[in-house]
Symmetry: C2
Subunit: 351 residues, 2 copies
């Protein structure tokens, strides 16, 4: 296969972890006979510094014409103190999601047997957890009309959803559930919000098309609780943008393996793959960042092209590295810590 | 002191736990020379069954004219399956909050040394946790304009906040922080929402009036994570209605003592006190429900009248009961389980 991949390294440790994902992907391409052309482009604080905005048109052109986007991380402390500043890295992120139509954010939370003890939860609570959130990413209160009235003394944010938006996301959820344990949980606040009632009635109407999928409906506050109590009682969860923002982050820390969690944001035309961790500015350039989440994001990318063996080769190599202790300092547990590059080298040699 | 207390027992186990809180409060009144007049009124499913709506005008009259409201729990399975049904117990709850102006929901999460092992979190993560959320309760997306367009295919919910609403809640937060460790965390999503930017700028402007309070600002998704990772790093947190709904429930399960957590909802004229647990319909009438959260809510009520010793007497008695193993089956750990009434009797005798 010939693949054109847009490469958005971003800020902080972004470039370092992206480098290792490229290294491992190239090793996969070599092994399986694919040809990857990487198209680097600017984003985040790096793009603001260079051209004055976080998601420049030139970057959008590169992404739009690529087969997929591999993304590092964005965010820089110099933009952190004033959330109302007109140009911030996050604005670029939202613009990118909307412009590329990345409507479904796929956020798995799973455990690695060798890392169970890193979880803040007791072992018996977290063992066996393997869930996936599908978060709607281009609608809701993030993109509704917002502003001020009364000389700035009143602020408003409008949350809007259309039936078509819900259907599009829910369809992905049902399909994913069919490939897993056929359990789907729709997370909403239908006892209070009209948008949630639209979500619930739309999903209910789709149930008949997937008779094998067992669908449950839970309120967002109840899910926030049960994720901590019995995370392994969930499988596939679908939800709207803001609830997804909160719950996927909550879910990401329960496994104790946040530094290893990949994600995908799927669009109709192009999809984007990125680690869920941030840009850890304080680790920049130190060769200590854990590249595994980005490398596992590359695995999701291959799988999304239907290249399942390629994805599996990466996952297997990561598992082997964890077992062999070829890990960065965040996972070294007092033992030997490898550098970012060395972990990448080892994985490239072992896929 | 002469106290008129509206008594809203509600549904499920509500009446049973309320009975024990009355018993213990009466014992306190006797011991400290107060006179409590209880004014029972209907609410929840019980009120729907009796008069067709969950928060009848007659109940509102009783609450409005009382010095405080003691509340049990509402919710009944027969109203659970259709969130869009026109008459639901929750509608009564929202109507009551608005009509009584209960703008500040106070939700403490703390631990009991003897119950630490009930937490889903590891002991070292949860030990020492003692935090309080102040959740705004009468504004935001709960009460903004909501509805449908496009023949029902588009739904919207409007989130609105005024500077005065934020100030009123934040003032309570600063004042509470002054009585504790002088740390205040404002939880928002100011990188995305205009209402959050109003929250943040309003709180920032108030900082100068409380020079001793150290204020931090965190995004709601980050708080959802850190609550699981390092709950004891928080003290007082203030937030808007919907974020508060999600985060206070998340916080309530981390301690492992959810069945013991009280809460208060403060208004300008009258305040309401209630356990955070639900109406557990399946336990109704079995004399097994844990009354301690309701009894501790009564303690908050006394303290809110400035009767600190009275509150402390209740808290001390609860601690003694926990140590002596005078507990209901949820806390019995295979040991002897006392009934709801027997726990109430013991506490009334020991305050
Ligand atoms: C940075 C922020 C705008 C973003 C979001 O809220 O979507 C982030 O929290 C995320 O989840 O990707
Ligand atoms: C029942 C529901 C409307 C309510 C809310 O969302 O406020 C409940 O979850 C709560 O937190 O008291």
């Amino acid at each position: 296969m010939k693949l054109n991949i847009a490469l958005l390294a971003g800020d902080g440790i972004g470039p370092e972890v992206i480098n290792e994902a490229v290294k491992v992907s190239d090793a996969i391409a070599k092994k399986f006979g694919h040809e990857i052309t990487w198209k680097p482009a600017l984003t985040g604080a790096a793009a603001i510094d260079a051209v004055g905005e976080p998601y420049p048109d030139a970057t959008h052109e590169v992404c739009k014409n690529a087969d997929a986007v591999l993304f590092g991380a964005i965010g820089h402390p110099k933009y952190d103190n004033d959330p109302s500043a007109p140009v911030r890295p996050e604005q670029g992120l939202l613009k990118m999601r909307k412009a590329l139509g990345l409507f479904a954010n796929v956020r798995p939370t799973f455990t690695f047997p060798s890392l169970l003890d890193k979880s803040p939860l007791k072992r018996e609570r977290i063992e066996g957890t393997d869930l996936v959130f599908l978060r709607e990413l281009t609608g809701g209160i993030y993109f509704g009309e917002k502003g001020r009235k009364d000389n700035g003394d009143t602020a408003y944010d409008n949350c809007v959803y259309t039936r078509a938006e819900v259907q599009r996301l829910a369809k992905k959820g049902f399909e994913l559930a069919m490939t897993r344990s056929k359990k789907l949980c729709c997370v909403d606040k239908a006892n209070v919000l009209e948008t949630s009632r639209l979500w619930r009635e739309t999903v209910q109407a789709m149930e008949k098309d997937y008779p094998e999928v067992e669908v449950s409906y839970e309120f967002v506050d109840a899910v926030a609780m049960r994720l901590v109590q019995w995370p392994n009682s969930y499988d596939v969860l679908i939800t709207e943008n803001l609830f997804g923002d909160i719950l996927t982050d909550e879910a990401s820390v329960i496994s104790g393996s946040m530094g290893l969690m990949p994600s995908a944001s799927m669009g109709a035309e192009v999809s984007l793959f990125e680690p869920i961790h941030g840009s850890y500015p304080q680790a920049t350039g130190l060769n200590i960042a854990n590249p595994m989440a980005t490398i596992l994001s590359a695995a999701m990318m291959f799988e999304n092209f239907g290249l399942m063996e390629e994805g599996k080769a990466i996952r297997d190599a990561v598992n082997k590295a964890l077992e062999a202790g070829v890990v960065t300092e965040d996972l070294a547990n007092g033992g030997k810590a490898y550098g970012t590059k060395e972990v990448g080298d080892w994985l490239a040699a072992n896929v």
